[in-house]
Each structure stands twice: as C-alpha cells, then as structure tokens.
Symmetry: C2
Subunit: 332 residues, 2 copies
C-alpha cells in the first residue's frame, strides 16, 4: 500500500512540490499558470493521489479532528446524538472520533488522553461521575471542550443541556392537576447534576403540594433488576398512582415491569417517561414522554466547539434548550 505523494506529482509533472501544493490547495494569492495547473491536476488524477492529512495536520498544528466522549454509546439517546454531531462536524470540515466510556471515569480519562495524543482540535463530552480530574487537566492545557447533555457542578464549561429542573416541575404540576393519590419518582442514586435537577424540580413542586411521593433510585448498573424489585415493593395499585421515569433506560425498565406483570396503563397506573426511543412505540399504550431536541443540541455543541477552537474562551456560555412534553395516552 505505497501511496503517491506530492513529491511524486512534482517529479512526474516536472515542477516543484511547492507548486503542486499551491494548485492542490487552490490558493488564490500566488497565481500558477493555467497550463501548469492542468498538468498537475492531471497527474494527481492519474496516479490516484490522496492527500496525507496527517502530514498536513503536523505542519498546520491542527488536525480537523474532534473527539466525542459519550457516557454510553449503546444508549439510543447518545447514538442519536453521535449521529447528529457527526453530520454537523462534517459540515464544518471535521472528522469525528467517538468514544464510549460506559460511565467509567478511568475509561473517560483514557479516552481524553487518547484523543489528546491523536491531536484532536477539541472535544465534546458527556462527563461522568468523578471525571473532574480528567477535565481539569484538559482545561489546564486550554483544550477546547464543550459538554453535552450533562454539566459539571464545580467546573464552568461551555456546553449544551436542557432545562431539566423546569421540565420536571412541569411534569409534576401536570400530574398534580390530575389528582393522583400517589406519585412515584423513578431516578438514579447519583451525583450527576443534570439528573439531580430532574429530581429536585419534581421535589420542589411535590413539597408545595403536600402529596405523598415515593422515590425509586437505582444505581447506574442493573437498572432493570433494581427498577423491577423496587416497583414490586412500592407500587400500590389500590391507590391512584402516576409514575415519572426520569430517563429512557428507567422508562424501558419500568414499562417492561408493567408488561411482565400485566399492569394496564393508564387504567391501573399512569406514567410519564423521558427521552424518545422506538421501544416506547411497542408498548400497548402510547407513552407520554419528555423529548429533547437532539439535533439542535448536537448542532449547537459543534458550533460552540468550533468557536472555542477558533477563539479559546475559558468561560464560555452554557446553552439551555427547552425539552418538550409529548402528551400521549399513558396518563389518565
């Protein structure tokens, strides 16, 4: 797999490498004669020349590579984000490196190092618990970086997110209006700020109402089992109950429990889920859910990163998108 270089073109066309470089890059400044241009282009075509971006990157000190670190690529939410980001990145001339850290801070750190060695021009990350050290290191190096979906409690970084707190308030208000006897909040036992926001928005409204609320908080692994076990304990069908699943994984786990136990929605229990996933559509009842504007978020994240790459600014702004409540038939 010996590949043709600019040098080969120069030799065959009988010109210098400088000239070849100029015409291949169509620089306006220095005019090359039509004839030479044509010749060079022909030769390049003939010998099947492919530019070596690595050499270019080295010379230019920028790789036009950006790294994306998601918490879990097998999660619909992140794979859809990744896809949109790839599209946007390509539009701006970047190639995307994708890494999934599976909620593991070691792997997160490893990926940042890998990307850094690979000379990515910047990174879009969904930070996980205990990833502050890795992030701080990047910041010390003034590495352009923006967060997506999640944000950090102690570090102010440009990024995109949704109005987690407010949307949970909204859902809570919506459920309160329906006069349920009992509400169940299903979330994670976690320190991730965006997930706590979801919880606190809900809590804040509940408290004001004085209604009973039960909480089901699971670890980030074994979601299915934990949700099933706790629903079994806490779901009391004798009361008029509504459940709020605060993520797609939790939603799927919960719906599966209801299916397995032949619990009817919304007759026996009402529910609202988070994020959109194909799975919701196979549930017998149309599921009401909170939808995030993924494509817009992806676009904005790439835009922010591109800005950071061009003009590094350590206290970049956070952009908050409005999630949308898609009202279907799962609440009575």
């Amino acid at each position: 797999m010996k590949r043709a270089s600019i040098k080969d073109i120069a030799r065959i066309a009988g010109v210098s490498v400088a000239t070849v470089s100029y015409v291949l890059n169509r620089k306006e400044g220095s005019r090359i004669s039509e004839a030479t241009q044509k010749k060079i282009l022909e030769v390049a075509e003939n010998i099947n020349y492919t530019p070596n971006k690595i050499a270019k990157s080295l010379k230019m000190s920028k790789s036009k590579l950006i790294g994306l670190i998601v918490a879990d690529i097998s999660n619909d939410f992140y794979s859809n984000i990744a896809r949109s980001i790839e599209d946007e990145a390509m539009k701006l001339g970047y190639t995307l490196l994708i890494g999934s850290c599976d909620e593991n801070p070691e792997k997160f750190k490893k990926l940042t190092e890998l990307f850094s060695e690979q000379q990515v021009d910047g990174m879009i990350v969904a930070p996980v618990v205990d990833s502050d050290d890795a992030i701080n290191k990047l910041i010390r190096e003034e590495y352009p970086i923006v967060t997506i979906d999640r944000y950090l409690k102690n570090i102010n970084l440009p990024g995109v997110m949704i109005n987690n707190f407010e949307v949970s308030q909204y859902i809570c208000d919506y459920l309160l209006k329906k006069n349920f006897n009992e509400l169940i909040y299903v979330g994670y036992d976690t320190e991730l700020p965006h997930l706590l926001d979801r919880q606190h928005g809900f809590d804040e409204r509940i408290e004001k109402s004085g209604i009973a609320v039960k909480r089901i908080l699971t670890g980030i692994h074994n979601i299915t089992e934990e949700v099933h076990k706790q629903l079994k304990n806490k779901l009391d069908l004798s009361k008029k109950t509504a459940i709020y699943f605060s993520s797609n994984k939790l939603g799927i786990a919960g719906l599966r429990y209801l299916i397995d136990n032949d619990i009817k929605v919304p007759e026996d229990v009402s529910l609202v889920a988070f994020d959109e996933t194909e799975a919701y559509y196979l549930f017998p009842t149309e599921v009401s859910f909170v939808q995030q504007p993924l494509a817009e978020m992806a676009r904005e994240s790439v835009k922010l990163l591109d800005q950071q790459i061009n003009h590094y600014n350590p206290d970049g702004k956070r952009v908050t998108f409005q999630a949308k409540f898609m009202q279907r038939n799962s609440v009575e």
Copy 2:
C-alpha cells in the same frame, strides 16, 4: 494550547531528542542509564508531556487508526457492533473512526476518502448498494479492508457474517412444522446479498412445502409506513398465519402495526423477528427472534483487519457465524 514536545524535554533534561525518544518508548535494545531515564521521565511528567501521535504516524507510516463505516449508526444493531468493535480495537492499540453512511453510496464513498486521507490503517465496512466502485478503489490501493454483516456479490473480501440462508431455512422449517395456513415473509426489496440470502433460504423451504407464502418487500426508507400499508392489505386474520420479519427495523415496524391494531400475538397471528432490540421486550408478548453473536463478530472483524494490516492478503477468508434462534412466546 501550546503543547510540550520531545524537544522541550530534551532541552530541560539536557539530553538529545533521540535519547528522550528511546526512554519514552522503553526500547530494550539501546540501554540508557538509570539516571538519565529517571530524569527524562520526571521532566516529561513535570511539563505534562503528551506524545504527538500524528508526528509518530507520519514517521512510522501507520496511524493505528481504523475506520468503521456502518450503514446506519442509529440502528441498534450497528451501534452495538460499533461499541464492541471500539473495545476490541482499543485492545489492539487502535483508535476507531466511526462513520454512518445512511445507506447512501455517495456518503459511503466520501467516508472511505475521508478515512483514507486520515491515513487509517484499515477499514471495517458494511457496504451499501452501489458501493462497489468505492470498494474497488480501495482494493486497487491494497487497502486492508474487511466487511461486517454484509458482503459483496462481485468482490471477494475477507469479512464476517452470519449464516443468513440457513437460519431462514431453519425458521421456515420451524414454522412449517406448526401447520400454519399462511406464511408472510417481510423483507426488503433490495440487492443486498445477505438480505437476499435470508429471503432465499426461506423461499427454498417454502417451495418444497407447497404452502402459500405472501411477501412484503419494502424499500429501505419509509419502512414503518410501507410495512403498515402492506400488512393491512395482506394480513388475513381468518387464516392461521405466521409472519417472519427479517430485520429489527422490519420487526419493530410490524410489531407497532400489531399493537396499533390491537392484534394479539400469538392468538391472532404468530411471528418471528430478527436481531435483538430492547424494544421487543416492551411488546406484550415475548418475541421469538434470531440473535446474531455481535460481540464475537466484532472481535473477529477486528482480528481479521489486524491480520490484513500486518500481512495484506487480497483473498482473505470470510468467517461465518451461526445465528441463534431465541424461542419465546410469539409463535403458537
């Protein structure tokens, strides 16, 4: 974002860049004194040195990058494959570039060019219809390349796949034994060989049996609509019918139709689907499906590619894995 280089280390440590390079790479051959080694490592640590892989790639003429082109990253099947491939690649010291071509041959070609310019050492691809030109170009350049999931009719390339023909025979036999009056095959109107294999395996058995079979073949876009429309026309609930959905997308579209129309499985109709997806588990009936051994396929594909990278061999072998029929409750 000025980054420290080997030269900085050399200057500070008072040695040559060659020496720095040797100790950083822990080369056995040329012994460097303990003292110098320690000094260099210390300096590297202090100034926060990160190796520049791009410079290394250029010098070594290999990037330790591999490219993955999937047909559609938002498909569970491919995002799971991608994740496994990423893990395997990392184990062998490769970083993964992922591109999704969305079944579009232009985009496929663009991605191969992009990856080629980025100097990936090889590519793992799921070729789409009309991607032969792009592939042939890579082959002419002796680019290491292996296929995954799909294969090409006219080009012999190393790759991994499943026994599509045989597994469809098996499913057909299984259904025939149950004495259905009517079988419906749901597939794609496509030239993709692996999908035709699924169809032909089914056809072959059907023909021998003399039973009536209906075919629903959809384009690769608008799957949901087309499946719904055709099921509406062709599904005759007065007959004892079984449906075979030959992909996860088709399965999801079909299940959604059944849910929407309140058709009970397996009471009103029986079915078998393809591939595993979380969505199947939210369907009221446990869905029987054909499961591909994704992790093994991913591992093998990376292994094959690594072999190709180390010893290029144009007629590499194709590795076929056995798909597994997961029998649940959707067939009566």
